[in-house]
């Protein structure tokens, strides 16, 4: 029983990560109708920005335990108060990713707005490769330790019938639920959310109705990419920060978003829970090897896409042929 609970808690922690990235994907899908393959790497830029903001310039110069030199610390060390506490640093990271998202939307995807979906997907694939290369280029291929916002000493857990519910898991879910509430309000209760739907269904008509298309799209990209940076900081704190780590996470987040139905925030969170639990329970109770834990959720996504493309909570899309 305690082992079962432990596996559930582990799964729930990963589930929070997938859910938050899935929310970011859903957010962008609602705003632009686009699957953003580059989301993980845009978040990585923010993750490394926050690492730069919280690493003292002296440690970056070579001293200090496990910290490898972090490029860029000397550039920002003149800022008052640098190095910043983790929470503030993550804030910087979120802003960096959000700005990068807006920039990419202006420079790349807005120019492709009249081109086919094939071209738009190609553009995000190109951004995925380019940003993965950029992160390696600037910050090197080494793994970096990344501090956690929540207490994560070995003793920081609540004992629930023998299972260890760690504070980091609770914290990740607190962030997650706050995001869900805020995004739900943004999509369903504000004019911007209404504008998202209008633009996705017909951008030209929306523009004629006086909806500021550019500004609305910018908001969508900024929010989505900012959440990406947040997710990166949670992943990095639970493992390490290393280039390329987000591709697997993003695939699983896509699985979560698809299982939930791509246009439903509630579905994204449910999908995240399902993916996280599958990932920890399937290798736990079947002979399935744990290093292939990514496979079962992926298979679930593929099968669901084949037989129920709208997911569990999504709305069916009607296509005119």
């Amino acid at each position: 029983m305690d082992l079962f609970l432990q596996r559930c808690f582990d799964g729930l922690f990963n589930g929070a990560i997938y859910a938050s990235l899935a929310l970011a994907l859903v957010m962008l899908f609602r705003a632009t109708g686009l699957l953003n393959f580059a989301l993980g790497e845009i978040g990585m830029v923010g993750g490394y920005t926050s690492l730069v903001m919280l690493t003292p310039a002296a440690a970056a110069a070579g001293g200090g335990g496990f910290v490898f030199p972090v490029a860029g610390t000397s550039l920002v060390s003149w800022l008052p108060g640098h190095p910043y506490p983790v929470v503030v640093a993550i804030g910087f990271g979120v802003i960096a990713s959000a700005l990068l998202g807006v920039l990419l939307q202006r420079l790349v995807l807005y120019r492709l707005r009249n081109r086919s979906d094939f071209v738009k997907v190609n553009a995000t694939i190109a951004l995925l490769l380019a940003l993965a290369g950029l992160v390696t280029e600037v910050w090197g291929g080494l793994s970096q330790r990344y501090p956690s916002v929540f207490p994560d000493d070995p003793g920081d857990y609540i004992d629930v019938f023998g299972g260890r519910l760690r504070y980091t898991t609770l914290g990740a879910w607190a962030v997650q639920l706050a995001l869900l509430l805020l995004l739900g309000a943004l999509i369903n209760r504000t004019k911007t959310g209404l504008a998202f739907r209008a633009i996705t269904s017909n951008a030209e008509a929306a523009s004629l109705m006086g909806i500021p298309v550019q500004r609305t799209l910018a908001i969508g990209w900024a929010v989505s990419c900012g959440i990406g940076a947040l997710a990166v900081s949670i992943v990095a704190a639970s493992t390490i920060l290393r280039p390329g780590m987000m591709v697997t996470v993003l695939i699983l987040a896509f699985a979560a978003a698809t299982i939930g139905g791509l246009d439903s925030p509630k579905g994204a969170v449910m999908g995240g829970v399902i993916v996280g639990l599958t990932q920890s329970l399937v290798p736990g109770y079947t002979p399935f090897p744990s290093e292939l834990a990514v496979v079962p959720p992926f298979l679930a996504m593929t099968i669901l896409l084949m037989f129920r493309p709208t997911g569990l909570f999504g709305t069916a899309r009607v296509v005119r042929v």
């Binding site: 492709l112 997907v121 380019a130 593929t302």
Partner: protein, 316 residues
Amino acid sequence: MNRYTGAAALTAAVVLPMIVDRGLLEDFSRVFVLILAVLGVHLLTGTTGLISLGHGIFVGIGAFSMANLLDQNLPVVVALVIATAMAGMAGVIVALPSLRVRGPYLALITLGLAVMFPPIGRRLGRFTGSALGRTVDVGGFDPPDFLRLDDHPHIWNYVVCLIVVAGWFLLTRNLLNSRIGRAIRATKDHEHAAAAFGINVALAKTGTFAISAAMAGTAGALQAIIDPYLNTNDYDWTFSLKLYTSAVIGGLGSLLGAVVGAVIYVGLPWLNEFLGLLDSPSLAFGLGLLIVIMVAPNGVVGLLPRFSKKPNSETS
């Protein structure tokens, strides 16, 4: 490619072993193999519009099948054919979702497969040598006596690669110009209209996927002969993405695009290293694809005056 450029290319390919040294000739063999891998992506995406971000896994399946078939002391030619067929069958399995799943979702599924290939391969240590990789035993693959190449195995490898790649090229060209090729293109232009004209859309898609995967498998099998050391880590998602990117940068409108794409696949990292610009070629590939999307919708080949009049090959 018209008759004259084809003849010129063939002459150049035959003369090449006589004038370049061993290292350069091996590089040319590698380029031929990559042409085949890129041609696989080209055939799939160019004619059906399906996006596969996982063609690297078919190259990997071909390579490791080849290595294990050679362990069984099969003749090289037989092993090559079986390895190709195995990659083709893997292609059929991956193609199944493509019959129901459309657009970006197939890219997502294939990207996921590409991400999972190295860890799955490491689990199958008996076939892949786990994380350390394995060597390929190509002993017994001797050139026929009349060629007098016994002391020059690299020239023999080159000749084999040339013949196999040229064979696949002819096959692809003829296929695309046949009734089957027109049927496949029709499904890309308008699936429902094609179905209404009696084209079996499912068969066309699955068939194209299988052929394109088989091509990538042949490329992997040849790779195992040229460089007899294989590691699953070499077939990771960046490899697949670079293959895809190269094919799109080269241009999906004409077969020449696959050749240009392979040259870009090899040339871009080389140029980058030569100029000492970047540590990671991924950035160069990503930026290259972005630029091509923005300024040259038909790829590098589309910029050539002969091809620029062709209608836009974008998929909708």
